[in-house]
């Protein structure tokens, strides 16, 4: 029995941390491939490169855990970003511009939440609609032209706190916020329940609608922030920025162990997922891999990483199903 328990614990640990194992293996391999890989500058570069999509990925993680999804984040990011840049160019106030970016993100996602909650539109469809609408508004507003000469605004994207680039700093903050929300608040606990079994959550007295809308609002703030950072990092208010970012964000979340069937996922896993993709892109560029080949390798590694993770998990479930149930019942029978 004792032996069984430790074995089970090891299985749990293996399955819970398998994604970090993948990440560590990757760091080791990358380091062998290129001596620059672990240099502080390179690591800081990678962190800055993945910061925007990782912030989006944290939002997606929260949504997917609750059985939801946001396909509009790439577009809403652009809308929030260009409006924020515009406000800065007009007023010169960084704090006002920052607030506008967040508010636009939150408002768009409030609409997402209402569509999903009140009108029962599937999240996939509702946010698909928002994706088109938000992009359209961003293009209408700018007449399809980039906003240049954004001045001090670039500080959000290129400034540093100590040696930490500001986008990385924000990414860490958002990561901590996500971790805290998911693991240490009743909202987070409710979110897992809603995603894991909505009916059971409702029957346990959880206000499912409020949780869903809440998840969208949090996502909205993240998306707005990501928009500000992207525009500032690229030193341009581009209405066509962020196309396809929703899929990069989803990729990071899914690699990080967030389950599309809801109820599973962690902030740490998503961060690991984002770094796996980031490391992969980086090492291929450092070693000069052909750009067509890059796409093939990337897809392959993603399938491999998720495959390993799933295998570790399924393996464990099967084992505990076999192992945990029978002895329990035996004990019961003898009692």
């Amino acid at each position: 029995m004792n032996n069984l328990m430790t074995r089970e614990k090891w299985q749990t640990i293996k399955s819970r941390y398998s994604i970090y194992l993948v990440l560590i293996v990757m760091i080791i391999v990358c380091n062998l491939l290129n001596e620059n890989f672990l240099s502080p500058r390179n690591l800081s570069n990678i962190s800055a490169q993945i910061s925007v999509t990782t912030i989006l990925a944290f939002g997606e993680t929260i949504l997917i855990i609750g059985g939801l999804l946001d396909l509009s984040c790439g577009s809403v990011l652009a809308l929030a970003g260009v409006l924020s840049v515009y406000v800065f160019k007009e007023t010169g106030s960084l704090s006002l511009a920052f607030a506008v970016g967040l508010i636009v993100g939150v408002l768009c996602n409030f609409v997402n939440g209402i569509l999903v909650r009140r009108f029962n539109i599937p999240a996939f469809i509702a946010t698909l609609a928002m994706m088109t609408v938000a992009r359209g508004i961003a293009l209408l507003f700018t007449k399809g032209q980039n906003l240049y000469q954004i001045g001090d605004y670039v500080w959000f994207g290129q400034g540093k706190i100590g040696f930490v680039p500001l986008p990385v700093f924000f990414m860490i903050i958002v990561g901590i916020v996500t971790w805290y929300i998911l693991g240490h608040t009743s909202f987070g606990r409710s979110l897992y329940a809603v995603g894991g079994n909505e009916e059971a959550a409702r029957a346990s007295g959880i206000n499912v609608g409020r949780i869903k809308i809440g998840a969208y609002l949090i996502n909205g703030a993240f998306v707005g922030l990501a928009g500000i950072l992207l525009m500032a990092r690229t030193n341009v208010g581009a209405p066509n920025a962020g196309q396809g970012y929703e899929f990069e964000a989803l990729t990071a979340a899914i690699i990080g162990g967030t389950s599309f069937s809801g109820g599973l996922g962690t902030a740490g896993g998503t961060l690991a997922g984002a770094f796996i993709v980031g490391f992969l892109n980086n090492i291929m560029n450092l070693t000069g891999v052909d750009s067509y080949l890059q796409q093939v390798i990337k897809g392959g590694i993603i399938a491999l990483a998720v495959g390993y993770d799933m295998w570790a998990k399924v393996n464990r479930t099967r084992k505990t199903l076999g192992a945990a149930k029978l002895p329990n019942e035996r004990k019961e029978a003898k009692a």
Binding site: N34, N36, S39, R41, N42, N45, A48, Q49, V52, R135, L139, K143, G144, Q145, N146, L147, Y148, Q149, L230, R233, T234, N235, V236, A238, P239, N240, A241, Q243, N281, N282, N285, L286, T287, G288, S291, Y292
Partner: protein, 318 residues
């Protein structure tokens, strides 16, 4: 039989209505401008230019349609424009070969067609207005031939593969520069999809992997600006050369600051004005067919001031 009859009635009514409108607006030519993608900033700039330019001609109106970078949508717009009896269609192809049969059919159906940015070649009866993509890159490449030091390390940023402009520009760099300068080494070459953010990511990695980069060869200004964004505070790259194409407002400013080396202006206003004037000439019967190019002037620090004026006019910069 009854069905046939009703069809005939409907057709007759429709014909009458059409005749009525034609008579009422005898002097008004309807033009359809089918844009590649309004989300593409050059395409949007061109569409804005066309809308501005057509105001100078009281006998013409333009409707802009957005193909959203999708061949199927673009082709559907061409068919619809023919069906809706536009007098002339300006097609900015998403992919020339995909649009070719539809343009050919439109010409066959008696509609005048101009293909622009980039032209679809060899369609009898259609006209074209373009800037030569080869030449746009070539003017930069010829300048680089003199400027790039012996044994230099350069990085190349490409547009999406399969895109005609991306391929032609890269081809020009190959023939006009790389083939003639075997001493130059390409230390990094990637597709950044015309995109500044993506170009930044590549450049950040290249800066890590290489001690020196002497020049950035970019197929458009956006990507060149991205590369420059990465090294802007790094004195090690003060002397780095950077070439683009398009002549965006951002590139003009970078050239003025001395950070970017050169670009070739593909002036959307010029292109728009030329398109509209050719359209007018075709519709009024002044000419039957024409294939014409606008200039693609090389912009360097010496002449950048005059081009900045163009962008001030558009409001992109102050």
């Amino acid at each position: 039989m009854k069905f046939m009859k009703s069809i005939r009635t409907v057709t007759a009514v429709a014909a009458l209505c059409l005749a009525a409108t034609t008579v009422a607006q005898a002097e008004n030519y309807k033009i359809a401008f089918i844009a590649r993608a309004q989300a593409d900033s050059f395409a949007a700039w061109l569409a804005n230019g066309i809308m501005d330019e057509v105001k100078k001609y009281p006998d013409m109106t333009v409707d802009v349609m957005d193909a959203q970078a999708d061949d199927a949508k673009e082709n559907a717009f061409i068919e619809n424009a023919v069906a809706n009896k536009y007098d002339l269609i300006i097609v900015q192809p998403n992919n020339g070969e995909a649009q070719r049969p539809y343009v050919e059919q439109a010409v066959k159906d008696g509609v005048k067609v101009i293909t622009t940015n980039a032209r679809i070649k060899d369609i009898p009866g259609s006209s074209s207005v373009d800037a030569d993509p080869y030449e746009q890159a070539a003017v930069n490449a010829r300048l680089a031939l003199e400027q790039v030091p012996q044994g230099a390390s350069v990085v190349v940023l490409n547009g999406p593969s399969g895109n005609m402009h991306a391929d032609m520009r890269r081809d020009a760099w190959q023939k006009e520069f790389f083939d003639k300068r075997s001493d130059v080494k390409i230390v990094g070459e990637q597709i950044a999809h015309w995109n500044k953010e993506e170009a930044m990511r590549f450049m950040e990695d290249w800066v890590q992997a290489n001690d020196k980069i002497d020049a950035v060869v970019s197929m458009n200004d956006n990507m060149a600006a991205g590369a420059l964004e990465v090294v802007k505070d790094d004195p090690k790259f003060d002397k780095m050369l950077a070439y683009g194409v398009d002549g965006t407002a951002e590139a003009m400013l970078l050239i003025q600051e001395g950070r970017m080396t050169s670009t070739a202006l593909q002036n959307a206003y010029d292109l728009a004005a030329k398109n509209i004037s050719v359209a007018h000439d075709l519709l009024t019967g002044k000419i039957e067919q024409i294939d014409t190019d606008i200039d693609c002037p090389l912009v360097t620090k010496d002449n950048v001031a005059e081009f900045i004026e163009i962008h001030k006019k558009s409001g992109a910069i102050k």
